[in-house]
């Protein structure tokens, strides 16, 4: 257990020591306090932002660590959302099976990500072609689902609804004393906060574990990684599936949050968004988690107060921030905070001298 907790800090994640974890605890406590004190609309609105964080974290994981820039996050977002919509509509809220629907949706996402990932990585597709292949998949799904209007496109009781999508499916529920309690409003918010925190910590551990080492090795030099005994294809595959499943999680949570999912969540403009969030925030997990929420809030605020200048201003802000912080706004900020605690311990270890022939020790 202790060795696992040690992995919360490491080379593959920014942030260590008391200042950082103090700050993160404050953030967490602040988020909880906000959920208690803020008005119900503000809380629900924040839930909406949190829904997207999983997809962004998934991309930060596979792109930041493993170097795979997938345009397909939205494809798995859509698969997750549609599966949840279809299953929960068929079973109905009274069955109490919405959680089962959510889990099965995740399984479906994992399966489809595994199939696509197998085709891509074991089929020898790499680099920019991975991006284009995943883009083609998400656009194909969007085009297909857009034309599924009418009763002939139905799975059980759920009509796919074409461009209009599926709406009015049940929200997530938990069975409670023979009743099904809806997870909406504040309970959804607290659930999301805790779930984001767990996902974040789990990804940190994974990033600093051997899996993370392997992914970084593959990103930096596939040739060298292979020569060190890393199975490059398998590692890319694993990173892709983990990231895609998180996108699917966002999708089903989105469907549960708004009781609505439509094909345009898989379109070209939607597909670019996760990449924007991660690139502008920084590909570090902490930077992406914080940055995604901030960027979503910013673009919403602009939409409300910016009138016709909203999107122009958003574009300008993006351009300026990438020019100013090419490594990502929040990643740059985090590195600043990190450097307050002095140089990293990995560099401060005294160099030991030994009279032994080191090659004998080593080999």
């Amino acid at each position: 257990m202790r060795s696992v907790l040690r992995l919360l800090e490491g080379d593959q994640t920014i942030g260590r020591g008391l200042p950082f974890w103090g700050l993160m605890s404050l953030l967490f406590a602040g988020a909880l306090a906000f959920g208690v004190t803020a008005g119900s609309f503000a809380v629900e609105n924040c839930s909406y932002f949190l829904v997207w964080v999983f997809m962004a974290l998934g991309l930060a994981f596979m792109w930041g660590l493993g170097g795979t820039m997938s345009f397909g996050q939205t494809a798995f977002f859509g698969i997750g959302g549609y599966c949840y919509a279809i299953l929960s509509t068929n079973w109905g809220v009274e069955s109490g099976l919405t959680m089962a629907a959510a889990l099965l949706s995740l399984a479906a996402v994992a399966l489809s990500a595994a199939v696509l990932g197998y085709f891509v990585f074991f089929g020898g597709i790499n680099g920019v072609l991975v991006s284009i292949t995943t883009l083609a998949v998400t656009l194909g799904l969007e085009t297909f689902l857009s034309q599924t209007a009418g009763p002939k496109w139905a799975i059980g009781r759920a009509e796919l609804g074409g461009f209009n999508g599926i709406s009015s499916m049940p929200p997530l529920t938990v069975p409670w004393h023979g009743d099904n309690v809806e997870i909406t409003g504040r309970s959804l918010y607290f659930g999301l906060i805790i779930f984001v925190a767990i996902t974040y910590l789990a990804l940190r551990i994974l990033a600093n574990s051997k899996v993370g080492d392997a992914m970084v090795a593959v990103r930096e030099s596939p040739l060298r990684a292979e020569a060190l005994g890393y199975d490059v294809k398998a590692i890319l595959f694993v990173g892709f599936v983990v990231g895609s499943v998180l996108a699917g999680l966002s999708g089903l949570l989105y469907a549960g949050w708004g009781q609505y999912i439509s094909p345009d969540t898989m379109g070209l403009s939607a597909a670019a968004l996760p990449i924007i969030w991660v690139a502008v925030s920084g590909k570090d997990l902490t930077a992406t988690m914080v940055g995604t929420v901030v960027l979503l809030g910013l673009s919403q605020a602009l939409a409300i107060y910016g009138s016709q200048y909203a999107l122009v201003s958003l574009a300008l802000i993006l351009v300026v921030s990438i020019m100013g912080c090419p490594k990502g706004v929040f990643e740059t900020l985090l590195r600043r905070i990190d450097s307050i605690g002095g140089p990293g311990d990995q560099n401060s270890k005294p160099v030991r001298k030994s009279s032994l022939d080191r090659s004998e020790v080593l080999l």
Binding site: V216, E220, R224, A227, G229, Y230, P343, Q346, R352, L363
Partner: protein, 240 residues
């Protein structure tokens, strides 16, 4: 005991055979240098042995079993390690992280830290541990890659021009490092142009020409061979 054997190994690119029916046999504990003019197929042969290229025909045996179709990463696990011609390190990571990624396959926790420090000392990069690999000098990159290649405790180390771009002094120290590794039980196959270096480390050399072994033996004997001289001047007779 024969550690590595290549039989009729062939690699074609389009119509051109870069390696052509190559036969090679390396004893355990040996240091073998592959020499020959540019385009003789030396690097291709090494890549075939390491598994980063797959052969068009022929077979490779390692430690008694055929590995012709074993993936590169599995060969690495069986104990074949390679140092490439162009230094292949993890450029955006620190020197220490480079080694950590290599060593974390075997070690954990404080032992991992110890092994990293030892390897840093061994390749004389302790002072550079915090630097990004891409800012190292060429020679330092070469040594870092050495560190990566030996971190797996290989039984066979393949070196592709390990001293390219090094000063004479660096070359000499590299030779000492190779000899030390060899003393600790590592078999070495090196492709090299620097005859001083070859003389320093190798007992046996194989001359490659047109993708196959042209001549084999002690360095001085081989270099004295008139036909070998000719191929270095580009007028070699085709062998039968």
């Amino acid at each position: 005991m024969t550690l590595l054997r290549a039989r009729q190994l062939t690699k074609r690119f389009g119509g051109h055979a870069a390696v052509d029916r190559l036969d090679l046999s390396i004893e355990a504990g040996e240091i073998r240098c592959l020499i020959g003019p540019n385009g003789a197929g030396k690097s291709t042969a090494l890549a075939l042995l390491a598994g980063s290229l797959s052969p068009s025909a022929g077979a490779i045996y390692f430690d008694g079993s055929e590995i012709s179709n074993v993936a590169a990463h599995d060969r690495a696990k069986r104990g074949i390690s390679i140092k490439f011609q162009l230094p292949s390190v993890f450029p955006e990571l620190s020197v220490r992280q480079n080694l950590k990624i290599a060593l974390s396959r075997r070690y954990l926790g404080s032992e991992l830290d110890d092994r990293i420090d030892e390897t840093l000392d061994l390749v004389e990069l302790s002072d550079q541990r915090g630097k990004l690999a891409r800012v190292l000098s060429h020679g330092q990159k070469q040594w870092l890659e050495f560190g990566l290649a030996i971190s797996l405790k290989p039984r066979l180390l393949l070196l592709d021009e390990p001293t390219a771009g090094m000063t004479p002094e660096e070359t000499e120290r590299t030779g000492e490092l190779v000899l030390r590794l060899n003393r600790s039980g590592v078999t070495v196959v090196a492709v090299e142009h620097d005859m001083q270096f070859v003389r320093q480390i190798a007992r046996t050399v194989s001359v490659l020409h047109l993708g196959t072994v042209f001549s084999e033996g002690r360095l001085n004997d081989v270099l004295a061979n008139e036909d070998v001289k000719k191929i270095y001047f580009g007028e070699a007779p085709r062998h039968g």
